[in-house]
Symmetry: C2
Subunit: 197 residues, 2 copies
């Protein structure tokens, strides 16, 4: 599979993100280093003022090869669906040419995300076909700077495991949280909905 | 707001869907008739073989004016995110030019869906800004023909209500379920993920 970082559909990435992904030719062997890569995406999204403090990527689990990346693009694209995880999953599916990242013939794929998924991204994971999810910050770390992470059931890790999807949490959590803090200090938009209520 | 049925981003609609939406110039006053409109979308998606047996739309609650439509496009677009509700929400946001359909200055907007949301679409609703959700079939009706509707918490209606989003269920449920049956009888694809496991 060739990296699909210039994928135009459904979520367009800013040029800095495409450049950063294209530079990552070398497989990333260690899980913590995969997490540091997505935290770097989150940080650059903040410093480039292209979106919220979240980054994600799809990797081949065994080889560590980068398949696709995602960053939060909600405000930039006027689309509340455009969370980092959703962008990474959708772009990976475009690349492999299948809506099921767990389809026969594909290597085992995993989602690496700088923050535990919100209720929407959590619900998207079983449909996506990834076999594993690695999370950095906790949802409550995102809530602490004002994001409404949504009504996710407390037993979500077990519910994914029951569907054959392994979950690993708290990888480089402090580094992921540091990006949230930087976003908050920079006065970044907390793009919860219903602001007109 | 002018209807945005030709919106190319992020989800492209087939031409029959754009035509069907463009013909619906007249506001739809009665909730059951709004539901019948989205069930018609679901049915035409099946008979046109463009996707799964699900339809959705965003309406202005007070006037009944149609804002955007959505149909299931998972297989057609190679994107597991492309559920009818997600397509309708994303296209409505493109149209109004804001990721928050509850933003100041917008009329009150509602999501009408031929089936109760799955775990992903449920999680997407609070981020979207809609103030109301009308559902046709139950999630268990979709499960009955083989779809994995995902790990949605049992108290989901109350969880949305707590966020100021009203939920109405079982509108024209039998008519919505009839479309599922038709899809099943036609041998329609049940596009759950992990088929390669």
């Amino acid at each position: 599979m060739k990296p699909g970082f210039s994928s135009k559909y459904p979520f367009r990435l800013p040029s800095w993100a495409i450049r950063l992904a294209c530079r990552q030719q070398k497989p990333i062997q260690v899980a913590r280093d995969r997490m540091r890569f997505v935290i770097q995406l989150a940080l650059t999204n903040v410093t480039s003022k292209t979106g919220g403090p979240f980054g994600a990527a799809v990797f081949e689990t065994t080889t560590g090869r980068l398949v696709s990346i995602g960053i939060n693009l909600v405000a930039a694209t006027n689309c509340s669906l455009a969370h980092a995880e959703m962008v990474a999953l959708a772009n990976a599916q475009q690349l492999v040419g299948h809506f099921d990242l767990g389809a026969a013939g594909l290597p085992k794929l995993e989602l690496v995300t700088s923050c535990e998924p919100c209720a929407m991204c959590y619900g998207a994971i079983p449909w996506s076909g990834v076999r594993k999810v690695l999370c950095g910050a906790r949802a409550r770390d995102a809530s602490a700077i004002g994001f409404d992470e949504g009504p996710k059931p407390s037993g979500w890790v077990m519910a994914l495991k029951k569907r054959g999807i392994a979950v690993s949490r708290d990888l480089c959590r402090d580094e992921a949280v540091a990006v949230f803090q930087r976003y908050k200090e920079a006065g970044g938009d907390i793009y919860n909905a219903g602001k007109g209520s």
